[in-house]
Amino acid sequence: MDDHQLAGTLDAGPLAAKTPVLDTVTTEVAAVSGIEVDAPLPAVRLQGVTKRFPGGRNHDPVVAVDDLDLDIRDGEFFSLLGPSGCGKTTTLRMIAGFEYPSAGSLQIFGQEVGLEPPNKRPVNTVFQSYALFPHMTVAKNIAFGLEMQQLPVDEIDRRVAEVIELVQLQGREGRRPKQLSGGQQQRVALARALVNHPKVLLLDEPLGALDLKLRQAMQLELKRIQEQVGITFVYVTHDQEEALTMSDRIAVMDGGRLLQVGDPEEIYDRPRTRFVADFIGDTNLLIAEVLDADTARLYDGTVVRVPTGAPAGSTVTLAVRPEKLGLWHADAERDLRLDALTGTIRRVTFLGNAINYEVVAGERAPVELVVRQGNTPGIEHFADGERVRVRWLPGSVAVLED
């Protein structure tokens, strides 16, 4: 995709114009609810939102979303990330208005919308299956929302043309959805939602049906469009890589609960729970015994400098990413700024751009570690069975809460 030819194709006017009005609302609502007055009003605020589905005969209700507290900021690209069945879609559908929360409060720019029907909410959705109207042309599909809002015809035409340019569907206005490729249908779905200038755009795994190459291209393009229009995107995905590349912030969910919210670096480098550490990227999980507030000891006796936050004698789980570990010969000089562990290489896996070494330390209760070294020129390669020293910066180890 050529970014230059797209720059400035969407008129930011109507979007920008809404902001001042919202600011006054910000302070009023914030004052009433007792939340920090200075903080800007979140685009979406969920407080104690719970969704229970009836479980059928003789079954307990299914708790799809469990007591969710979440603020999504204005203008950010926010991802809901989690494994299948964790309640991402349900959360999104509640924001869209297709499901009503069983409990809790749901606000969009300070306005309680939990029980409003979808057509009364300032949000639009890009469906996973696209849900394009098969009996309408591309242009008619895109114009649908504007027609429902009874905008003047010339304005509808102008905005449809504008958004068609934004998603690069020029020349395909007269086609039916069936006559388009998957990627093109995806763009129509996006255009159909964006043309309404929603305050929040909801996307449920919009790239799920595309093949890898197209998926990657669309990831970049979605991000570009989001930056260009400045609308808050709430993006549902179960693909951690996708979430990391595209998001300003990520919420990791499991079993209907929110586990951690943070920007991609935070989520990746400082996972708070075992689940988050494991779900996102590869990780080494190490059990350690707390020595004091700043140190813990692995089973093989290696002392690790971490802010343990637990009483001495208790055990904690540590997480460290394979690529944060360095590999040296066992007889390498000690560097006191780094923590280190000595062990034996048990397996070497060549990945192309990197090499994985499985290192085992200790005998009775061995500590196992995966070390990943970039396959860069000049880097020393090690062999199976070699004695090695694994070293890392103390800050690269995270202490997990569970």
């Binding site: 869209a96 208005g97 297709f98 029907p117 979808p118 057509n119 949000v123 639009n124 959705t125 469906f127 299956s129 849900a131 394009l132 109207f133 098969p134 009996h135 649908f144 929302g145 429902m148 809002q149 159909r192 939602a193 309404n196």
Partner: protein, 306 residues
């Protein structure tokens, strides 16, 4: 020199099953279509013998002459039976049939659509039960069920009694067009519900959600998305109700009485009491033509949707 010698053709070996061998491909295709023909043969014979042949006989008879005694003379071919189709009496019966059939179709649609929609949006278990309920009337004889309506709509039936303040003591429902339409709707409603249910059940309800998401109210979402997408079912159901209603015999005969004759009964009368087979045949051909038009409308619409 070796270089000047063309390699012999046989040196490029072609496997026997090469798909780019046109002769083999054609043979395979022919075998395929032969098999298809053999499979279809029994039903083809059945249709020719039992369906097309009687039809041909009807068409032939419609050009024949009736003797004084009511015998059909297969000679002197003429169009006089067709000319009689334009008698005021015949036209009146024809128009009445058309009108009652249309009314039946519209009422069936209005009654059947919401039910089919309800059916399509239930859980599979509830659907099964409701579908069986739709079918139950078919388990007993149509004639008997129509006679039951005679009781319901009769002098001492609940409807007449309930409506006495409006109809007066002399009022009656039986043997009126109203009774005929009630009977026809009753008889043919399942033919409306089933195709409607079939289309609505396949409808992707996320399209309705998408419409709601795009600021459509419930009604707007229905008229802009659900209704156009269920059109094939609407057309199929309407044709399936209209055609038998138009040619109905049993219902108008039992519930309609003498003043509400429909074309079906009139045809039967030509064959039995009037013993005018050529005219009866001409009437049948005319009915056939009307139904053919209806069917063409159906297929046209369906093809346009596809």
């Amino acid at each position: 020199m070796a270089a000047t010698v063309d390699p012999p053709r046989t040196q490029t070996p072609t496997p026997a099953s090469a798909p780019d061998e046109p002769g083999l491909e054609r043979a395979a295709e022919q075998a395929e279509s032969r098999r298809g023909f053999l499979i279809g043969l029994p039903s083809l014979l059945y249709l020719v013998v039992l369906f097309a042949l009687p039809l041909v006989i009807v068409v032939v008879y419609s050009f024949a002459t009736r003797s004084r005694t009511g015998r059909t003379i297969l000679a002197d071919w003429n169009l006089s039976s067709y000319a009689r189709l334009f008698d005021p009496l015949v036209l009146e019966i024809g128009l009445r049939s058309l009108w009652l059939a249309l009314l039946t179709t519209v009422i069936s649609l209005v009654v059947g659509y919401p039910f089919a929609y309800y059916l399509a949006t239930r859980s599979p278990r509830v659907r099964g039960v409701l579908l069986v309920l739709v079918m139950i009337p078919f388990w007993s004889n149509f004639l008997i069920r129509t006679y039951a309506w005679r009781v319901i709509l009769g002098r001492d039936g609940p409807f007449v009694r309930f409506l006495e303040p409006i109809l007066g003591t002399e009022g009656q429902l039986l043997f009126t067009p109203f009774a005929v339409v009630v009977g026809l709707v009753y008889g043919y409603l399942p033919f409306m519900i089933l195709p409607l249910y079939a289309t609505l059940e396949r409808l992707d309800f996320s399209l309705v959600e998408a419409a709601r998401d795009l600021h459509a109210t419930g009604w707007q979402a229905f008229w802009r998305v659900t209704w156009p997408l269920s059109r094939p079912g609407v057309v199929a159901g309407s044709i399936l109700v209209f055609i038998p209603s138009f040619g109905a015999y049993v219902t108008p005969e039992i519930l309609g009485g003498g003043r509400t004759t429909m074309i079906g009964s009139y045809v039967v009368r030509q064959f039995l009491s009037a013993r005018d087979w050529p005219f009866g045949s001409a009437l049948s051909v005319a009915i056939l033509a009307v139904m053919l038009v209806a069917a063409v409308v159906y297929f046209r619409t369906r093809d346009r949707e596809a």
